[in-house]
Amino acid sequence: MKLKVTRDVLVPIASVLVALAIGAILIASQGHSPMTAYHVLIVKGFQSTAGLQSTLSKAGILIMSGLAITIGLRAGLFNIGAQGQVLSGALAFTYVGYRLHGLPIWIHLPVALVVGAAFGALVGGFAGFLKATRGVHEVISTIMLNSIMAGVVDYLTQNQFRLQGQPNTRTPEILHSARLPHIFGYPSGFLIAVLLAFFVSWVLKKTTTGFEFESVGRNRNAAWYAGISVKKTIVLGMLVSGAIAGFTGAIFSSETTGYFVPAFYSGIGFDGITVALLGRANPKALIPGAIFIGGMRSAQSAIQFEAGVAPDIINLLLALVLFFATAPFLAKLLKSNAKSITTTSGWGS
């Protein structure tokens, strides 16, 4: 056990260091100073108050989208479609957020958040339903649902939900009664995300539903033998994963954007995959990775202005981190899955 914990901690750290080293070579090859670039990264991402606020706000979103992916992975489901669920939840939240007038914040905000989560759940749950009843692989269906949702939210933002008399396409402003308050100037979304991470971890360890997820994720045959409905668990897993993704979109709209423009949300669902894999599908262990990536993202533009490095370097760094951290983990995941489905091992061992 002990060995595993250290490995789980060491691999992400090592991959971050290797990625930074390769990044440094690339920055230097472009004729810039890697030291300056990384210095800006640290200052803008983590040291200045404004930088830290923005980092934590982004980290909160990443934690939540990472949790959406994580809970799916634990049930043996790879929800590639968090992005579509984020969009769906965000637009639903925004609509409720600007349409319902005259409600106090303690009613309006929770109602709008629940609606956001419900719309995410709808999209995710649909993929789960297709898998359970028709055997459609969730990777395929959620990728297609991503495109469908992107089209749907585009259409709605351009038509029914559009704020008229504006040159750019966007929805009306979310009312104050649906906006997340800050706590001492710091984003409360981050706090909610951390609490959610602890809650998800507790559910997985301490509840019967969590046990069902874990069992189905590890060996479907044995789960069925143990009296667990595999189909129900698949639908529920995708439903919950989608709900968390929708909730993520809702929180982001409430705390950061204030109104809906599809482009604001690009990448949230995919960064969630990075975060979940960096945290090795462990709800609490993904928090540090999310803060790190949040810092990179919030320092992204400063790096360009102050160190002259193209902001794409950040994307490149993140891709490298993901590559080093997850290649072996993914291989293991896929292998153990295949094993549990097709073969039996020796009687002697």
């Binding site: 056990m1 360890k205 301490k206 509840t207 019967t208 539903t209 969590g210 046990f211 874990e214 069992s215 590890r218 060996n219 045959n221 044995a222 789960a223 069925w224 033998y225 143990a226 009296g227 667990i228 409905s229 153990s336 549990s340 073969t343 039996t344 091992s345 020796g346 009687w347 002697g348 061992s349």
Partner: protein, 503 residues
């Protein structure tokens, strides 16, 4: 000339706190068959895995033909002429025997595989070692015994000097076992050294040149078949006398608790494999189902436990029709099930021993109160089971994966025999289990039966069926062809019935 083929010197391997191998030294000569004996968890698999490079020992050296082989490197082991046949066959089911055997090292003409040559070389190999097989047969259509033969041929094609067989007979029929033992004799007469692991002392006495006994990771003795008997070997293994006698009282059968009426079930290939079977099981009896594997036993058990849909007919449990119910519903009706394939159905490899001991009771009190699980209750219950069934592990918190084969089986048995069930359906319950523990499990089954539980025992071990059953049902072609009384029956008669002869 030095005839030593393999020399293991002072090999040790510790997992966490378990000394799986403790300073073991062992030699195998050319053409020698060495049988490894020992209780479940004694360290047999660990030792042979070290030789084949699947496990990296902490200390000690392994030398083959005078050359030291790198530890923990299977590629090196193969290069040095070591082959290991895993029970989990590494075959491509849809390809032919010849294709499987040449896989990875195909004879070719230009850019194309030469199938003629492949077939030829397979023929040559099987002639040389007396391993009869049709090179054009599709692997998935072959019975387990022949699939194993393909594995052996695959190993032989790589010119092995040393062949390791870890419990190869566990899944074979008696006929297939006979053939395998003959194959082992042939190989050894050609100079191949063999390490053979089994829990069946009869096989050891029949084929081994030398017997090495492990206990708690140590090598505790060597014997030859000539100077040994089953009981002397058992004594050496366990360190106490094994009585080989059961505490069997007269059965007092009660009401019918399981009634099967004209049942039809299909197998994985969609062929009808249970063919209009009828049978009734009474409370307080052990009904043994004897039969050559592949005559519908697996499908019957899976249908009765809700794991597999039925086609026609019906069955009822305690008077209630149970057709179409899922495993959970049937379990709730009072049926325990020891599945035939523990790795696939009975256990979740990466979960802890504790969790696996309550796998199908995770929702029931005291292991859960509504939505919340009571982990402390799980752990303390599991600790009792581990103690009672002698599961060899330092702690129930370790994953099931860390247990030896037989100890995994004990976990399944412990779980299924400790629930207040009315019916126990046990498929190959003692497969891979050492003789001491078999004695214990048989006595437990008898105790359950004496307390009024009905036991349906499906086993490929005729001895097991004969020794603990109260009635014997012979299954052939998906039907029960005879019901016999174990008191006045002989092995040849059962054997004939199992082979399809009419009474």
């Amino acid at each position: 000339m030095d005839t030593t083929l393999l020399r293991i010197e002072n090999l040790s391997k510790t997992f966490a706190t378990v000394k799986a191998n403790d300073n073991i030294s062992l030699e195998v000569n050319k053409g020698e068959v060495v049988a490894l004996l020992g209780e479940n968890g004694a360290g047999k698999s660990t030792l042979v895995k070290s030789v084949f490079g699947l496990v990296k020992p902490d200390s000690g050296t392994i030398t083959i033909k005078g050359e030291v082989i790198e530890a923990g490197d299977t590629a090196a082991a193969i290069r040095h002429g070591i082959g290991m046949v895993h029970q989990h066959f590494q075959l491509v089911p849809v390809m032919s025997v010849a294709e499987n055997i040449i896989l990875g090292d195909e004879p070719h003409k230009g850019a194309f595989i030469s199938y003629a040559e492949a077939r030829e070389s397979v023929k040559e190999l099987s002639d040389k070692f007396g391993l009869d097989i049709d090179p054009d047969a599709i692997v998935e259509d072959l019975p387990v015994g022949l699939q194993q033969r393909v594995e052996i041929l695959k190993a032989l094609r790589k010119n092995v000097d040393l062949l390791i067989l870890d419990e190869p007979t566990a899944v074979l029929t008696p006929q297939e076992i006979e053939e395998l033992l003959q194959v082992i004799r042939n190989l050894s007469s050609q100079g191949v050294g063999i390490i053979f692991i089994t829990h069946k002392l009869r096989e050891v006495l029949a084929v081994a040149d030398r017997i090495v006994v492990l206990r708690n990771g140590k090598s505790v003795g060597t014997a030859t078949p000539k100077e040994s008997t089953e009981s002397s070997l058992a004594q050496l293994m366990i360190g106490r006398e094994v009585i080989f006698r059961l505490d069997k009282k007269e059965a007092k059968p009660g009401a019918v608790v399981l009634e099967i009426d004209d049942l039809y079930v299909k197998d994985d290939r969609k062929l009808m494999s249970v063919n209009g079977l009828s049978l009734s099981l009474h409370a307080g009896e052990i009904l043994g189902v004897a039969g050559v594997e592949g005559n519908g036993q697996r499908e019957l058990v899976e249908a009765l436990t809700g794991m597999r849909p039925t086609v026609k007919g019906s069955f009822s449990i305690l008077g209630e029709v149970a057709i179409g119910k899922n495993p959970h519903a049937i379990h709730t009706m009072g049926v325990s099930h020891v599945p035939e394939d523990r790795e696939k159905d009975g256990l979740i490899a990466t979960l802890s021993i504790d969790e696996n001991l309550v796998l199908n009771q995770y929702k029931n009190p005291p292991f859960a109160k509504g939505w919340i699980r009571n982990i402390a209750a799980v752990n303390s219950y599991a600790a009792k089971m581990i103690e009672k069934f002698d599961v060899r592990t330092p702690s129930g918190k370790y994953p099931i994966n860390s247990l030896s084969g037989g100890n995994k089986q004990k976990v399944v048995i412990a779980r299924e025999m400790s629930q207040d069930s009315k019916i126990i359906i046990a498929s190959q319950p003692t497969r891979g289990i050492d003789i001491g523990s078999i004695e214990f499990i048989h006595n437990q089954l008898l105790a359950s039966r004496d307390s009024g539980v009905a036991v349906l025992l499906v086993s490929a071990e005729l001895d097991e069926i004969l020794s603990i059953s109260d009635r014997i049902a012979v299954m052939y072609g998906g039907k029960i062809v005879a019901i016999l009384d174990p008191h006045d029956v002989d092995r040849t008669q059962i054997g004939r019935l199992m082979a399809g002869a009419t009474q």
